[in-house]
Symmetry: C2
Subunit: 172 residues, 2 copies
């Protein structure tokens, strides 16, 4: 996107938001983090993002307080959403819903369900059955009818994400 990361200094808050998450790959990184991806190599595998770009984006998102680096096994680091980062969930959900509505000929690809209650989580983020506003951690992502079964060459992360799982739960 060649996003210079700065638009004109407009008064609108959406401009500021886009300066943070409007660059190529950034929202996909956030989405994957919501789905439970935490490791550098898993992002690379699942997104197909150039490693240098991933490095730069992770650094930037940490600096902006969207992600934080947490120690993983050994001396590795993993990347985890902060509260501010989890606040982007409505954006991710809205975009996914729009994409599902207009670009999923085989039906929706992802359906989100309220854990326990089993009701579906609708657009505004509320449960269709119990009516409650469903927090991220109580949301289960399940494959919809339009989700193509993952082929082996898509990698194991894709395979893991094609099965029902709690959001934010580490994939590994």
């Amino acid at each position: 996107m060649g996003l210079p990361r700065e638009y004109t200094n407009q008064a609108c808050s959406m401009v500021r938001a886009l300066e943070i998450v409007g660059e190529r790959w950034t929202l996909l990184i956030v989405r994957d983090a919501v789905f439970g991806v935490r490791r550098f190599s898993d992002f690379v595998e699942h997104l197909g993002i150039p490693r240098a770009v991933l490095t730069e984006r992770l650094e930037f998102l940490i600096g902006e307080g969207v992600l934080e680096r947490v120690p993983g096994p050994g001396k590795r680091s993993e990347y985890e959403l902060t509260a501010k980062g989890r606040g982007l969930w409505p954006v991710v959900r809205a975009l996914s819903a729009w994409g599902d509505e207009h670009y999923a000929p085989g039906g929706r690809r992802r359906v989100f369900v309220h854990a326990g209650c089993e009701g579906e989580v609708a657009q505004p983020g509320t449960c269709l059955r119990c009516g409650a506003e469903v927090p991220l951690a109580e949301t289960v992502m399940t494959p919809g009818p339009g989700l193509a079964p993952p082929s082996p060459e898509d990698g194991q992360v894709s395979a893991l994400l094609a099965r029902p799982r709690h959001l934010l739960q580490p994939v590994h």
Copy 2:
């Protein structure tokens, strides 16, 4: 953003959505269209977007059925959101809300109000007073406490958008 407009062919619908509206400037164009901007020169003035890029984006969005070209005064054309384009409103609202929450030290910059009912439209798109899901056309955008008063050099479009107005209502 140098967005090649194609990510890897992932199964996720958000990827498809980002291929349409993920490029630099695109969501800002949609936002301005929601706010009532319709003319080429008004987009240029308000966004500060290079003219060649605007031309390319408008063409692309028309091709994707997000905008449509409608005849304006004289032989001019204007650009109007289609139903598919209006479907992006939750995305715009979610991004603006996130930006307002984290990058508006002086308080929110835009507040959306349910016309007639006067209740505020909250994050999920429902009215805080009457509880109804508020459609775009019944939403009034009002300046919040954090919105800086527009300086004259910002142009007249900025000035118009700093006053309360119905969404989708043409600015001119």
